[in-house]
């Protein structure tokens, strides 16, 4: 009797929860809209933490285990906050052929972080993507949402050093 079910209150008065709630309402609080909902949480907050997953589970009337299972299955969902800046290195085949590996190595050598890690000062997160579909610009990276193509190790490190 989902009509009678009481939905949990928003976890805080942070306005972003309203966006998440709106996404769930749009889909009629249906359980199958779980992935859409998690996308909206991540878009709003940058990552999925435990209170968020509990809130989503309660709202969609799903066991927390299922929400956690889905959140951990898909590579795009992050369970930890990202640093202030994010550098996604594409490791698709075209980028691999054109030296994406050396980009990853150079970033690790300079900043001490591997894909999936964030620097201690929270300045930079490095991520690896399976393919951003920009094969004509290989090797490609996405820095803070902007795609930059035809990278070299030196150019990329210089670009990342400029970020505040």
């Amino acid at each position: 009797m989902s009509l009678l079910q009481t939905r949990p209150a928003l976890p805080s008065d942070d306005k972003r929860w309203k966006l998440v709630n709106a996404a769930m309402r749009r889909n009629g609080y249906a359980g199958h809209a779980l992935i859409e909902t998690l996308h909206s949480v991540q878009e709003s907050f940058g990552y999925l933490d435990e209170p968020a997953m509990r809130f989503v589970a309660g709202s969609l009337d799903l066991p927390l285990s299922k929400v956690y299972g889905v959140a951990t299955f898909y590579h795009l969902f992050m369970l930890k906050p990202k640093g202030r800046h994010a550098c996604v290195v594409c490791t698709g085949t075209a980028c691999y052929i054109k030296g994406a590996g050396s980009l990853v190595d150079a970033v690790e050598a300079r900043f001490g972080v591997k894909p999936g890690e964030t620097t201690e000062d929270d300045r930079l997160s490095v991520l690896a993507a399976r393919c951003v579909g920009a094969c004509s610009l290989a090797p490609a990276v996405v820095v803070d949402g902007d795609l930059a193509g035809k990278q070299t190790a030196d150019r990329l490190v210089a670009k990342l050093e400029e970020l505040a």
């Binding site: 992935i35 996308h39 085949t93 052929i97 902007d146």
Partner: protein, 535 residues
């Protein structure tokens, strides 16, 4: 609505541009956008005299992505080979570009369209790409869009549509090459009060970007194909599953759905008939296995994207247990022209068992990186050396990978093969979705095999043991061999594991994960052996 009504509408939309003689087209698909095409579009619009005979517009992908941002000057409605094409255009070039309309091309930007890259293509799926504004519904209709759907609805029964599809000989472009007419007929036969149509836009093969370009350049074409399919099989609801890594494709598809609905080409009572069809978008979340049809359906249901054994096939028990038709983006983009021109016409293109054209993404060590569409049966040599321009920097060609992580490589000795579904299988690889990654002499083939195995290992969903642990073990062995620490025993074990994982995995991911190893072993075994250490 019948075809005459639609033609009238198209004429009305075209009449809005009656005073225009030339179009200045700027590619606004993803690759050119990241090369800076939006500021170029702005500069051209600002510079162009709005009362004149020339119109500046954003269009989809023209194909030669490595030369982006691309701008074309074409006589109104003209095809790419009839236009003046400019490469790597910057906002500062706007005045020069506009000054060349109807005159001599700007030499420093000009890229000839009589080169094989453009001249050898045959465009069906991509016939509108680079010509029309992907965000314009009227532009699509003015170019002849929705004529396939209106013909199907007003002149054909669902059975007629199915027959036309069977006659066409179209095979699924998502990789498997399953006959589309047969698949549609199976779903059509299922008695059920609810059926679904799904468009597979997951495009997980790293190094492939055909579907992305179709969605970004001509989204209405895909919707029209889905709509015709729904009519033929008796479905009322459809989903377009797009990977979240393609935000522009998602945005354009959303817009197309909204506009088609508003104009009565989607939603209830389409084109004033009794036929209704709703379409929604579902986003992936970064999992290669979700391209597999049963995993994709699980993902639409909001679950972990894990495959399940088939049968039952989606045609019998698919989304939420109902009969479901699932086809690839490019498959759907082929439907409208087949209905418009007839199955016989389509069957006249291509080879005996592979009909029509195929879109390929050329990437890696090749001069012309981008998208091409050629008839099935063209030789690999023509594709790579002539259309693609061969390896840059005078390097020697070594191999081309087709079929991504599920496929294999083809060495120089087999370049004369005529590319179709069946010929590629005899070489131990497969058509896949159309990605072609070219590798030159500097490429280490054992490392290529390791790269693909690493991919399969981390993309394995973990449901079945052969794939979950087999890919891990094979990756360990390959890693050891690439680091020159492997023994002959390791190589023998690797080959044995290939057999086991291929034979016992649950879905296509595991079953095909050994392919890159088997194929590099078949053609480049000496590279493996050169790295082995004596025991």
């Amino acid at each position: 609505m019948n075809l005459d009504d639609l033609a009238e509408k198209a004429e009305e939309y075209r009449a809005r541009d009656a005073g225009i003689t030339h179009e200045v087209r700027v590619c606004v698909a993803a690759a050119c956008q990241s090369g800076g095409s939006l500021p170029v579009l702005e500069a051209l619009k600002a510079e162009c005299d709005s009362g004149g005979t020339c119109k500046v517009k954003g269009v989809g992908c023209m194909g030669l992505c490595s030369a982006g941002p691309m701008v074309a000057i074409a006589p109104k409605g003209g095809a790419i080979p009839d236009s003046i094409l400019y490469r790597e255009v910057k906002p500062e070039d706007a005045a020069d570009v506009l000054a060349s309309v109807g005159g001599a091309p700007v030499e420093r930007l000009h890229t000839p369209t009589d080169q094989p890259f453009f001249a050898r293509q045959q465009r069906i799926v991509r016939e509108n790409s680079g010509l029309i504004d992907p965000e314009s519904f009227t532009g699509y209709v003015a170019a002849g869009g929705y004529a396939g759907l209106i013909k199907a609805l007003s002149e054909m029964t669902p059975g007629d549509v199915l027959r036309e599809m069977t006659t066409s000989g179209l095979r699924g472009r998502g990789g498997g090459g399953y006959p589309t007419g047969l698949k549609w007929s199976t779903v059509a036969k299922m008695p059920a009060d609810q059926k679904y149509v799904i468009c597979n836009g997951d495009e997980g093969d790293p190094g492939a970007f055909m579907d992305r370009a179709v969605l970004e350049s001509d989204p209405h074409r895909v919707l029209e194909g889905m709509c015709i399919a729904a009519y033929a099989i008796g479905a009322t609801k459809g989903y377009v599953y797009v990977r979240a890594e393609y935000p522009l494709a998602v945005q354009r598809m959303e817009l197309a759905i909204r506009k088609a609905k508003r104009s009565g080409f989607l939603g209830s009572k389409i084109a004033e008939t009794q036929f209704s069809f709703e379409v929604e978008i579902r986003l992936g979340a970064g999992a290669f296995v979700c391209g597999e049809e049963t995993a994709l359906m699980a993902s639409i249901e909001g679950l972990r994207g894990q495959p399940r054994p088939r049968p039952p096939y989606p045609a019998e028990a698919g989304l939420w247990g109902y009969p479901t038709l699932i086809n690839n983006v490019e498959t759907f983009a082929n439907i409208a022209p087949i209905i418009t021109h007839g199955g016989e016409w389509f069957a006249g293109i291509g080879t005996a068992k592979s009909k029509g054209t195929k879109v390929f993404a050329l990437a890696g060590s090749i001069k012309n990186i981008g998208l091409i569409e050629v008839p099935m049966g063209m030789s690999l040599r023509e594709i790579i050396e002539e259309i693609g321009g061969g390896c840059p920097g005078g390097k020697a060609f070594k191999a081309v990978q087709t079929g991504g992580p599920s496929g294999g490589c083809i060495p120089a000795a087999h370049l004369d093969i005529a590319v179709d579904y069946d010929s590629l299988k005899t070489l131990g690889t497969m058509m896949g979705s159309g990605g072609m990654i070219v590798m030159d002499e500097t490429c280490d083939m054992v490392d290529v095999a390791r790269y693909f195995m690493e991919f399969c290992m981390s993309e394995s969903c973990g449901k079945c043991i052969p794939c979950r642990t087999g890919t891990w073990q094979m990756h360990e062995l390959l890693d050891r061999i690439t680091k020159s620490k492997g023994t002959h025993k390791d190589l023998a074990l690797l080959e044995e594991l290939c057999d086991v994982v291929q034979a016992t995995s649950l879905c296509g991911l595991g079953q095909s994960a050994p392919n890159p190893v088997l194929s590099t072993l078949r053609y480049f075994r000496e590279e493996y052996e050169a790295k082995l250490t004596a025991e």
